[in-house]
Symmetry: C2
C-alpha cells in the first residue's frame, strides 16, 4: 500500500468569524485542491468556534510545500495573530483505516 | 521522543440523536479515560450530524484493547447498525506537532 498522511488541524476561533477569514478559507481550499499530493480535506465546526479539519496527503514533501505556499503563509500569519485563539497542528502517517 | 498515536473517527449521525446514543457516549468517555495508554480525546460536532473525534494514545496495543473492550464493542455494534449513517476510522502515528 502507498503511504498516506493526515494533517489534523484543531482550532478555537474568535466569534463571529470575520468576513476576511471566511473569504480566506474559500481561497485556501481552492488553492490546496490544485496542489500535487493533496488528496482531500474533511472539516467540522461547531457553533462555539471550535473546529477540526483533517487534510490527506500522499507525501510529507507535499505537506511541506503547502506549509510554505505564499497564500497559506499569509493565512498562517493572520490566523496566528488575529483569527485563532488557539490551534494545534499534527502531522501523521496513517497506519490503518476502515469504514462503514 | 516517545511515540504517540491518534485515532481519527469521522461520523455522519442520524438526527435527532437518540437518548441511548448520548448516554452511551458519556459512558464511553468515562470508560476510555480509565484505560492505560489513553491520553485524551477532542471532539467537534456540527448541527448537521457530522462529527470528528480524535483520541490520543501512547501505544497501538492500547488502541487494540480499546477496540475490544466489551462496552465499546456494544457501542460499535449499535453505531454500525443504527446510529451512524457513515463513519471512518483512521489509526495514525503522529510524526510531528506544533501549536499556537
Amino acid at each position: 500500500m502507498e503511504k498516506e498522511y493526515a494533517v489534523i488541524f484543531k482550532t478555537k476561533r474568535q466569534l463571529p468569524m470575520p468576513d476576511a477569514y471566511i473569504e480566506m478559507s474559500h481561497h485556501l481550499v481552492e488553492r490546496v485542491s490544485k496542489l500535487p499530493g493533496f488528496l482531500k480535506i474533511d472539516s467540522v465546526a461547531d457553533t462555539e468556534g471550535r473546529g477540526i479539519s483533517v487534510s490527506y496527503w500522499s507525501s510529507l514533501e507535499a505537506i511541506k510545500k503547502w506549509k510554505e505556499e505564499p497564500l497559506h503563509l499569509e493565512a498562517q500569519k493572520k490566523g496566528h495573530s488575529e483569527w485563532y485563539l488557539d490551534y494545534t497542528v499534527e502531522i501523521c502517517e496513517i497506519l490503518k483505516s476502515y469504514r462503514k
